[in-house]
Amino acid sequence: MGKLKLYLIIAAVFVLTLVGFTSLRSARPIVELKAETVLSLGINITNTMITAAIVIIILIVFSYFATRKMSLIPSGIQNFFEMIIEALYNLVVGTAGEKHARRFFPVIATIFLYVVAANWFGLLPGVATIGKVEPLVGEEGVVQEKGTVFSNVAGVKMIMPGFPSWPPHEPMSITLDVPADATPQQKEAAAAEATSNLKTNESAGLLAPFLRSVNTDLNATLSLAIWSAIFVEFWGISSQGFFRYGSKFLNVKRLLKGDIFNGFIDFVVGILEFVAEAARLLSFTFRLFGNIFAGEMLFLVILFLLPIIALDLVYGLELFFGLIQAFIFAMLTLVFGVVAVTSHEEEGVDHGSESTVPA
């Protein structure tokens, strides 16, 4: 790389950092752990549900176009799809062996493709940034505790950066300092006082996005983890029989033979296996949720601190982490499925050494 190009790049980074820091900073991040409800038809339809539906439709459409005119020598979309499927299949065969790979493969591949598509969809522009603004003092006296100041630009409420002013400031955000047991009148009074010095075309509110990355919702990851656990147990039972697989958890063989001490140990180890299964469910849930939610929070914070340059780095990080977390979810399901399917030796092997206690 020539010297001139290097200097140009350094100058561009410097200029972009300056521009980003002064004019494009967003408001103080407001982190919402629960997914916001968009519709309410008996059950609450959250924005993550809508995003999940969109992701599923995208996957279905993609696979439809990939398998429409299947030819023996693939080309185009079919080629791309076959590449993915082949890589996944080799992965599954490598861990599970030929005998079980066919059975495991659809579930593992589905988990991987769905989680990857969901994570990467959440990185598109517009997700989590375009939505409905709930005013600070809404109808029925519902007052939000935190909000940002929106400017009314041609009828659309936008968070305008503090560009024209010097020294540069970030868009205003509003936090009401009311104790938790304040009456609605007190909250409204505090809201009115906080918004008293806004210009005419500004209003305060809280953004409820239309679309939100699917795995930032704890319910979504919990449901995936439950399905993963159901499939692992199903594979274990269907390949080993109910009683043989159940004897991993309720091991009374040696107890019934009269060997009290070892039998008791086996029984307690069985209970521990049960606890390990439950811990695994929780760990799957929180691993995926934590990674993706932390990524979303990182985006919000970096948008507030240093847009453009640091945001590019975070974007790359999130792309990578979305892929890795999908891979990890699928591989862990596969590994535990293999463990569930592998028959245990009964005689003379310590049961305790066989159990994989996960983090």
């Binding site: 752990l33 490598g94 938790a180 929180f286 949720f289 934590g290 932390a294 890795i324 591989m331």
Partner: protein, 88 residues
Amino acid sequence: MIHLLPVLAISDGGLRFIAAALAIGFGAIGPALAIGMLTGKAMEALGRNPEAQPVITTNMILGIAFAEAIAIYALIVAVMIGLVFSAT
């Protein structure tokens, strides 16, 4: 309010921030060490047997996932303490 000294007092809100910071601060030490050791051992194994690279890498990523999950638990607790629980 906790009065440590006559001039030094921590309010309840301040305690909340300290709790959130400690949760993630201490919670990330263990997983960081674990991931570092894991990757180091993986590098050693890779140096001994470069041909087994796909196997080593796959298993290393699996191990890192387990270790990182603990850090994620700590992060969730910190987020809940600092941002989700409303001040009393």
